[in-house]
């Protein structure tokens, strides 16, 4: 079985039965093959973050099924599911523990897939591994293992989060606008690191972004979401031909036609 992530007929509604009722995800199907790197774009409220939360287990769908590597995880608790899923959040502060040292944070990430016991977190063997991995970031963090993570800059913390999310090679990597809160040069650094890491590890990745350029630069597939649905999909070949202008055009075309049809209904 090569379908690492399979969402079938996912449906999620917020505030059901109240005037604020909102269908966040409307019968979405999505399948990621092993090694796929899919970028997700869409305007605010399109359902991108909800989709991420449904995959990570922070939310549970009202209808539908989530499969990871052939295993039905629809009702699996968030913390259990996170053995299979690496996540990097938008907020650089969210992915690391600020009052703990770099090595302690890495040790926490390292024991993600095993059950935690009373053995020492930071061992000599692990330290060597941490140093080797940190040096791939080229930020000199391998020389600051004892530094508290709260002292690092936003870019450094996000790079560390990215490393922590990926170095145990989870089944799925979820990136939720992980460069959006950084300044342009830092964002570029993280974008490049993401590309390198995913290229090296062939992680099956789903990345939400607001940046169309980034969505085109990274990954082999692209999907566009609106009102809880996938309204446009580009496979590897189509994606290589896309430009930001074409993407915008496409977006307006679909959006526009939908608005027209809405008007037709209203009139």
């Amino acid at each position: 079985m090569n379908n690492l992530l399979q969402l079938s007929q996912i449906y999620k509604v917020f505030n059901e039965g109240t005037p604020d009722e909102k269908v966040a995800i409307n019968h979405v199907d999505l399948t990621l093959q092993k090694g796929d790197f899919v970028t997700v774009i869409g305007s605010n409220g399109a359902g991108k973050s909800t989709l991420m939360n449904l995959i990570s287990g922070k939310m549970i769908p009202d209808v539908g099924q989530v499969n990871i590597d052939g295993q039905n995880v629809t009702l699996m608790k968030e913390h259990k599911r996170s053995r299979l899923i690496g996540r990097v959040f938008q907020d650089p502060m969210a992915g690391t523990a600020p009052s703990m040292t770099i090595e302690e944070n890495l040790a926490i990430a390292y024991s993600r897939a095993s059950s935690r016991g009373l053995s020492r977190g930071v061992t000599k063997k692990r330290l060597d591994f941490f140093k080797e991995k940190l040096s791939t970031l080229h930020l000199g963090l391998e020389n600051r293992l004892q530094a508290k993570v709260g002292l690092l800059s936003g870019g450094e913390r996000q790079a560390l989060s990215l490393l922590m999310a990926t170095f145990t090679e989870p089944k799925i990597l979820l990136l939720d606008e992980h460069t959006a809160a950084l300044d342009p040069s830092r964002a570029e650094l993280i974008t490049n690191l993401t590309r390198d890491i995913v290229n090296d590890t062939h992680l099956t990745t789903l990345m939400v972004t607001h940046n169309m350029q980034q969505a085109l630069e990274l990954g082999n597939r692209l999907i566009m979401m609106d009102s809880g649905q996938i309204i446009f999909e580009a496979d590897e070949e189509q994606k290589s031909k896309l430009t930001v202008e074409k993407l915008l055009e496409e977006f307006q075309r679909i959006r526009g036609s939908k608005m027209n049809s809405d008007r037709a209904v209203l009139i």
Binding site: S56, K77, E78, H79, K80, S82, R83, I85, R87, F89, M93, A94, G95, T96, A97, P98, S99, M100, E104, N105, A107, I108, A109, S111, R112, A113, R116, G117, L118, S119, R120, G121, V122, M164, A165
Partner: protein
């Protein structure tokens, strides 16, 4: 004077165990756990009742520790499974424990004066070693006849015990579970994304914290010679005072340093209180007020000192830079000075 300080160091070492428990919940888990006021007495009453009924005092103390663990776990469950806010779940448990403690003891006070306790056992053991005579003889020979306490044994054992517990906590907080526990207090979103069950970690942390508190309560009851249903009132503040004073004096950069600071803080707190009570004007009933004042000053004074330092540093730097500027541009000096002034 010396006797007063001596006994406060002794008591401080016993209360240090309680303070280490408060450190676990308050600092490590970032959970202001008021269960402490109740679980301290639970420890005291369980130990007292068992000792009176003839149990081995060491086993009685161990039972107290387990009772505290259970109490802490229940607070944790109220918060995580019941979804009750941390402060409220602690208060609820504290109130519930008041009645439970009365039930355990069957009355509001259990005296232990004529019983064999951990403290009397230590004293007997120590006396048989004949170390007291040697130490006291040494003090007498250098002319400090007034400064001889009854026994050095309790002080010695309690300090050793506090440091053993400190060592265990330090080691535990470096294990995989310990790291996950610390991360739970530091960044819950993060640790959940690394497959840790924050609910069970919180229950575990609160259990361990209250186990230490009850352990300390059991020893305090045996040290004072009674267990009383009101002995836990304000215990959380005493624990906090110890943690905060310790951090202010000894620092808390690393875990090992922080736990050392908690023990130091507990002892310093006892010394301050006993010195304060020697002031003619103050009475025993003022102790809680003194505690509150100590905590407030331990919280505020370091901040003021830092602010003052920062101001001095700024002042220096600004003056230096404005002087340098003055050498080149005389016409701007007025503006420069005005800028400096407003910054100050």
């Amino acid at each position: 004077m010396f006797t007063a300080i001596f006994s406060s160091v002794e008591a401080g070492a016993i209360y240090a165990l309680m303070a280490l428990g408060v450190y676990l919940s308050f600092r490590i888990l970032d959970f202001p756990d008021l269960t402490v006021d109740g679980s301290f007495v639970t420890g005291a009453s369980v130990a007292a009742v068992l000792i009176v009924s003839g149990a081995n005092p060491f086993i009685a103390t161990l039972a107290a520790l387990i009772a505290g663990f259970v109490a802490g776990c229940i607070t944790g469950l109220l918060h995580t499974k019941g979804g009750i806010n941390p402060l409220l779940s602690g208060i609820l448990m504290m109130i519930a424990l008041y009645s439970i403690n009365l039930r355990i003891m069957g009355k509001s006070n259990v005296p232990l004066l004529s019983e064999e306790t951990v403290i009397t056992k230590i004293t007997t053991f120590w006396t048989n070693l004949n170390v007291d005579q040697a130490v006291s003889g040494l003090l007498t020979s250098i002319g400090l006849v007034d400064y001889i306490p009854k026994t050095w044994g309790i002080l010695f054992f309690m300090i050793i015990l506090a440091f053993i517990i400190k060592g265990l906590i330090d080691a535990f907080l470096k294990t995989d579970i310990g790291l996950a526990l610390r991360a739970t207090g530091d960044n819950e979103t993060m640790i959940r994304s690394f497959s840790a069950n924050t609910d069970s970690l919180k229950v575990l942390g609160l259990g361990l914290s209250n186990a230490l508190v009850a352990f300390s309560g059991a020893l305090v009851a045996q040290y004072n010679g009674f267990s009383d249903v009101g002995m836990g009132i304000g215990m959380i503040i005493i624990g906090l005072a110890s943690v905060i004073i310790g951090e202010a004096i000894f620092g808390a950069k690393k875990i090992a340093r922080a736990t050392f600071a908690v023990i130091g803080g507990a002892i310093v707190y006892r010394i301050i209180v006993s010195l304060a009570l020697r002031v003619e004007f103050l009475e025993t009933g003022d102790m809680k007020l003194i505690t509150a004042v100590i905590v407030v000053s331990a919280l505020v004074v370091p901040k003021l000192v830092n602010q003052q330092k920062e101001r001095q540093r700024k002042k220096k730097r600004l003056l230096a830079s404005s002087l340098k500027q003055n050498d080149h541009t005389y016409e701007k000096s007025g503006e420069q000075l005005a800028a400096v002034k407003s910054d100050l």
